[in-house]
Structures are given as C-alpha cells and as structure tokens.
Amino acid sequence: MKFIKNHLMFILPLMAILLGIEFFLVFDRTTDSYERGLKEGYSMLVVAKKTMTLEELKQLNEHIDSSENIKRENIVDQIAKGISKSSAQEILQALPYFYSVRLDSYVSTSELEKIKKDLEKNKNIRNVETFGSSYSSNYRLFSFIKFTLRIFIVFMGVISLFLIIKQMEVWKYAHKERMQIMEIFGAPLMLRSGVLFKIALLDALVATIITGAFFLYLKFYWAGKSGIDIMMQNQEALFRMTDIAILLASAIAIVVFAVYTVVFSSAGGQE
C-alpha cells in the first residue's frame, strides 16, 4: 500500500504536467486550424481607381496574401437591369475596380487598421473596407479563449511542480541516509542515485503511458461521439504519435531534475 502511495504521489503531479503539455499541444493545433478557418473566411474590400496587381498590393503591406478581382461586369449586370447597353457601358467605365483581399494570418484589429492605412496611402486606392466590427469581436473572443486556456495550463503546471517538489522532499527524507552512507564509502553519484532513478524513470514511463492512453481514448472514442464541432472537425489534431516522444522527453527531463535535486541536497560533501 505504501509502495503504491509513494509511486502515485509522484505519478499524479507528473501526469498533471504531461496533461498540461498535451492539452497545450492539442489546443495549439486545434486553434491553428480554427485560426486558418477564420483567416480563410475573412477578406477585405479594396476599391481602386485603376487595375492593381497582387505584387503592387503586397508592396503596400506584407500581410497581404492574395487578391481577387471582382468583375465589374457582374456589378453592372446587377445594377443596370432594364437600361440601354450604351448607358450600361458608361456605368462600367465610371465604376472603380474592386478587389477582395485575403491576409496571410489572423492579425489583431490594430494590425488590421495599419493594413488599411498602408493601403489607403496609395493614390490609386480610393477606399478600403475591413469589416472591422465583426472581425474585432471574433478576434477578441478567440484571443480570450486562447489566453484563458493557456493561463489555466500554466497554473496547473505550477501547482503540479509544487506537488513534485513536495514529493522530492519525501524522497529526500526516505533516501538521504542511504545516499550519505554510500557517499562516505566512496560511491559515485550515479550509483548513489541509481535506485531513485529506477523508481522515477518507472513513474515517468507509467505517467506517459496513462496520459497517452487518455488522449488516444479522446481521439478515437470520445471526440467522434462528443457532438462538439471543433472536436469532431479536428479529431486528427487530438493526438499524434510524435506527442508520445514529447511527453516522454518532458517526463524524463522532470525526473532528472527531481532526482538530481534530491541527490545534491542529500550529499554530505565537504564541511
């Protein structure tokens, strides 16, 4: 019972940190794809006095990714129904050029304003419509969710780190005497810490497997049936095999840190 308790006291906070790391990875991937969706669904309207190429627009601001010419003939067709062909021709000649412009990323509202100003500085551009209000509310909501989740993950990580430090003190108490005796008889650091390393590496492996299994369950069983759009659409982003390596490397790094902290603080050394 004591054996299981000792292991759980290290495995649980380690798992909390690994869950935090994995949530961070998953959230980043999911929001990346959501951000891509928002970016692709968004475009601004540029009204120009004469035709403008994409390169000309790109020179005005580096965020401009693509532009699409809105055919003026279609506009005239919509607004000049029932009027003569020559009048329609006159309207067409008087009409400016319209471009639907897409950006390379989902930028902030202040950046959006800057893009607008950069474009309007060009004498050939008559007007730029950014549809700022709907963009702004989307962006703020998105940023808020991203920020709060990251804060939560960091908070969870800090609390877990405190729990690990607490467990390190228990280890220190339990192993200090043995390590000091071994040190007196000339045992090198690796031999003194060998037992601790074995225990901690086993715990790291267990924590990684449980965390990985949890996310695999989420990916293959829960996400598909959850009814949550963002989960169903991003099922693939929920867990990747490379995540196992990231989780294991993180767990081992925490273990090495924990064990060496115990070993060095238990060392008698020279007085």
Binding site: E177, R178, I181, M182, F185, G186, A187, P188, Q270
Partner: protein
C-alpha cells in the same frame, strides 16, 4: 615503513574557519599501526577522523592519507580514497532497507565486483564475525552488538589500507565490545591494516602493541 597518514601543522575548523577545533597538529602513522585517539568530549576526536576520510577539509597545513593530499584533492579522488578505507561508526550507519549480507558488501558493490564475488565475500565475512545465520535479516532485526559486527565486516570487506573507527563500542555492552576489539585486533595483526580508533577509554583487554594520541586544547599529542 612508509607513512599511511601524515599530518603537518594541520588546522581543522568549522564555520568557515571561525571555530578552530584542531590547531597546528603534526603526526605520522605507519602501515600496520594500531592507534587510539582519546580526549575529552568535544575535543575534536571525531572531527579529526572526518578529516581523515575527507569529510572536512583542512584550513591550514597538510594532511596526506594513502598518498593523497586531502588539502587539494578533488571529489573524484576522495571517492577513490574512500573505497580503500573501512569506516566504522558508533551508530553503525547500516542501510536499514538492505539485508545484512548486502550491507556487508557495500564497498565491493561500489568497487564494481561481480555479484558472485559479492556473495562469496558476504558469506566469508559474516562467518568471520559469527553472523552467518543473519545474512538475510535486516539490520533492525539485530541487536546493537550484532549490528556493529556487521559494520566491522563491512569495513573489512575490501581489505582496506586503513580502518577508521569512531567510538565503535560506544553503544555496546562489555561482551559485545570485547568481540569488536577482538575483530579489529585480528584485522591489524593478520592483514597489516592500519587502524585508527577514536574512543573515550582504551580497553583493558587490548593485547596488541598500540600508539596513543590525546587531543587536548586543540593540540594532538602522542603519549609515550
């Protein structure tokens, strides 16, 4: 015969030199010497012993043990030196979660001997200290005298150049104490091991020729 331990104008102190324990001590100990170090409580007997196994660094003078200058030795060299020493403590310092047999062969384990050699040596040493039947027990299951015999067996396990003993019989009754003295006398006589014992009182049953140092008023003096 060559010196195993050589101290020259040795000064030992705690609190970064503020609290001097031993000052300007000079002495030499040769191979095969059996040395008693006595002195009042708090005189620095255990401090001197700690300095001999490198736990305390001298603040002045020189201290050479087994050819290694402890005033300048690095941790790696100190570790190496300790593997050639047998150290016996008043409070035994056995590892309670290990069996008696495993405790005995700790120095062999550190030196990287194979499990077979460790087992053979554990059997031989425990037979030598008359604890063969306790090999698989844990230290807490033994009496104080038996635990100290395990400590002596551990100290002898790698045929050390020098044995340092800090009040080895301080917690034992007369019978157990006599057994421990007997074991240490044998080690000195048969293996020509240098033995340094810190004690309050030299045992009356001791039969070997020995040297006697007294620590008093921070000085180390040999009694002739």
């Amino acid at each position: 015969m060559s010196n195993v331990i050589s101290a020259s104008h040795l000064t030992l102190a705690y609190d970064r030199g503020k609290k001097e324990i031993i000052k300007d001590a000079t002495f030499n100990i040769k191979k095969g010497d059996f040395v008693f170090i006595t002195g009042p409580s708090g005189s620095g007997k255990s401090t001197l012993l700690k300095a001999l196994y490198g736990q305390i660094k001298p603040i002045e003078g020189n201290l050479v043990v087994g050819g290694l200058d402890l005033t300048t030795a690095r941790q790696r060299k100190l570790q190496d030196l300790r593997t050639h020493m047998g150290i016996i403590f008043q409070d035994y310092k056995l590892i309670n979660e290990w069996t008696v047999a495993k405790n005995v062969v700790l120095p062999l384990m550190i030196a990287g001997y194979s499990l077979d050699v460790q087992q053979t040596q554990a059997h031989r040493l425990l037979k030598h200290v008359k604890l063969s039947e306790h090999a698989d027990k844990y230290p807490m299951e033994l009496s104080g005298g038996e635990q100290q015999r395990v400590g002596v067996a551990r100290a002898l396990s790698k045929n050390p150049v020098v044995i340092l003993a800090d009040e080895p019989t301080g917690n034992l009754d007369e019978y157990s104490s006599n057994v421990i003295w007997d074991l240490m006398e044998n080690a000195c006589q048969q293996l020509e091991t240098t033995v340094l014992v810190v004690t309050h009182k030299i045992p009356s049953i001791f039969s070997l020729p020995y040297r006697h140092f007294i620590i008093e008023s921070k000085g180390v003096y040999e009694v002739h």
